[in-house]
Each structure stands twice: as C-alpha cells, then as structure tokens.
Symmetry: C2
Subunit: 257 residues, 2 copies
Amino acid sequence: MEYKKQIEQLIVDFRTNYLSSVSIDFVIFGFHDGQLKVLLLRWKETDKWCLPGGRVRHEENLETAAYRSLQERTGLSEIFLEQFHTFGDVLRYTHFSKEETMGTLGLPQDVLDGFPGRDVSVGYYALVEFARVTPTPDLFTDECQWWDIDQIPLLLFDHNAMITLALKTLRRQLSYQPIGYNLLPEKFTMPDLQQLYETILGQTLDRRNFQKRILGYDILDRLDERKTGGAHKAPYLYRFNKEKYEKALKGEVLFVG
Amino acid sequence: MEYKKQIEQLIVDFRTNYLSSVSIDFVIFGFHDGQLKVLLLRWKETDKWCLPGGRVRHEENLETAAYRSLQERTGLSEIFLEQFHTFGDVLRYTHFSKEETMGTLGLPQDVLDGFPGRDVSVGYYALVEFARVTPTPDLFTDECQWWDIDQIPLLLFDHNAMITLALKTLRRQLSYQPIGYNLLPEKFTMPDLQQLYETILGQTLDRRNFQKRILGYDILDRLDERKTGGAHKAPYLYRFNKEKYEKALKGEVLFVG
C-alpha cells in the first residue's frame, strides 16, 4: 500500500537525519469576527484529530525546523510563531494509549526500535485571521479543520493540554504586548478591537476601561472618519500606528508602578 | 587522573541512560536587600563560568529531571522552577568555540561519537532569597558563586543569552503574577516591596502608583503595627495574605479592560 510504504521511508529518513528525542507541535489559533478556533489535522484514514507537528534535522536550528514543519504539514507560511512551552512527560498520552496511538498512526511496531519511544516536544503557537489563510493537508492528513475553541474533541497525545496552555499564554500576552495587527481590517472601530480582546479572553470587558487602557498604550491613530452605514452615533475609525506598535512589541508593557 | 576517569564513566552513563539531544539549564536569580544576582558555576580546573545544567533520563519526566539535576549540580532543592524557553540553535557557542568549550570541559574528543554533538536545551529559572540558600559545588565544579546581574562574565555556550531572556521573562511576570513570597521577611513595609520590584525591573518606580497598583491586587494584609527603630513617620507593616496570594498566582492578573 502506497501510504504505508511512504511512511516506512519517512521513518528511515527520520532515523538518519533527525534528532531522535525532540519533536515540535503547533497550536495555531484562528480569529475571525468574534470566533476563536484552533487548527486540527485528522490523521490519514482515521477519525482521530491532533495538532500539526514536526521534527528537527541534525543540522537545523529549532526555530527553522518549526517554520519548515508548519509549512510541510499545513502549507502555512509567513506566520509569526511564538514558543510557549516544552512538554516532557515520559507518557504524553492523555486520551488514547500509546498502543492505540501507534495503531492509529499506522506506524509499524518496530518504529520504536530506532527511537527511544519518547519525545520531548517544543510547543509553538500563533494567532492568525483564519479567513485569510487556507491550510492544505499533507501526506499524513485527510483534512485540516478550524475547530471552535469550546468544541475541541479528544486529541491524540497530550494535545488537549497543549491547547489549554497555549491559550493561557496567549491570554497572558494581552497584559504585556499589543495585539491585533494582521487580525483586524486596516481601519477598525474601538468595538472591533474590544471584540478581539473579549474573544481571546472569553469574557466581556468594560467598554470605558478598555478604551482608556488601550489608548494608554499609545499605539493607535484615530482617523478623521467614522464608520459609515451604521446607525446614528457611528463610531470613530482607528488604525494601528505601525511604528509605535512595533516599539511597544519590543519594549513590552511591563509593570508600571 | 581521578576526575578524568569519573568524567569518562559519566559519559558512558549518559550514552546509556539519558536522552541524547536534550539538556536542561538553570538561571537561578538571587535577590537580597536591593541586589539581584545569578548563580554561576566555575568549571573544574578552569577559569570558565557557566550556568548549572543537566540531562534527562529515558524514563524520567522533564520536570523531574530539572529538579534532580539542579540538586545534583548545586545542592539546591525546594526551589520553584519555571520553564521559560528552549534553546535550539545548532551552534550554541556564543563566546567560546565548540573546540574551546570541549577542551575547557576536559571532555575527550570521542565524546562526540556517541552524541549528535548538539543539544536542544530547556531553560528553567527561579528567584530565591540568596542569603537563605547555600549552593554546593558538584564533581564538575570548583565553585558556585552569586554574580551581580550587571557583572556577568562571558559564559560558556549561549548562557549569557539565556540569562538575558530569563530576566526578560521574570520582568514580564511582574505584569501578571504577584511576586515576593519567600523573598521578603514575613512582615515588610511598602518601600521594601517596592525595592524588590525596582531591583528586578532595574528602574525606579513612582511610589504612589506602585502602592495603588499593588494594593489593587488585594494580596496584602496591612498590620496594626509600624516599623520600629526608624525616624518619625514610620511606615506600616504588611504581610502577604497567603490565601489571596495563591489565588492570584493561579488566576493571574490578566488584561483588565
């Protein structure tokens, strides 16, 4: 069977050219119009879902491996990846046993001979506007799907825990870094930006406090336009000031006593 | 020579029992009375300094390996370690070449035969009151020393970069988590707590804003005592409310719009 043969070839390739005990996994969050989703892959010829992942070549920097793997598994590129945690439990099988997982993946039993049977996996996350990207399945994958953050199924390995921690990290990020560039249209209203924050946090925010705090970051330019087509009292339009935004990204909004 | 033999035995042990391409490094920050320091080890019979580090056994969780390694290398235990970044460049030799480093470590050339010669290293950091702990050197180490954060020498591997990133992470942490428990005496003044924050941030803070923000976290109990022995207008004493402090640690101070 063609697929099995390809898998076997890949395993030989892995044994020769890749670090034996390090893997990479990706939590790609997708935001669009008040929805927060996560990109999942359905493993070839099964009904099991998991995060996209990859491995590190001997002569390849970890970060390079991350971008290469994400592209190979999903076709996605030009996405800013942020490392968030390395998962190193010996048994990273939360919902499905090791045997069940190996069976699901269609891996021959002797795959374990060449590997210590145990990966330390470096987790990366990203946040994209999911209407703007189109993931494409790779050899191991029947389909790529955006799953609603509240409806993630039981995943292979410890991938549910990875999503939980990535989401916690993303939420933390809102306290020290600006967010929103590449997620909103070029011109947006304060309610649009607030909706983005609320969607990530999974809770509503006070309108006035939100506006005060966001304006305090000094990363927005208010335009001399209001949103058209709405009811009366149309809200002002804003735009990120790219220079200030990037400065804030670098400097971070640290504790300001 | 005794030491060389022990090293060779250890290498055999490593090849057999440890993951081949994963290591661990520790940035242990020490705070005391307005000073911030980092724990460094001087490599046996050399003048080269580095961070304490370790490796992961095949049947050992990464986190377990971290606590075990820290204890083996420095004698330190009961320290809360926080993972902050995994360093995965192929050549993690910033100030000294690979050959120079191998020479310094007194490692035989064929040490590279058993390893791919390349580790992905998981970084952990901790913050302790350095007057309360006494690190003790291990087999590889002539001395353990607390170095002032502003006077770190050129270190082996990429350890200077590790310290820089760990410090950035520690500073970030002040924006979303309370800090200070186990670093200050049981009863302390607001200026004591402010000094802790200023020492970590490396900058002075406005007294009133600091007080307002810290009290806003609702993690302190103000005692009915003032500090004695000082001048007039002795400051009030505070104590962490353990229950609220731990709740804040879990819940985190996220973006509050």
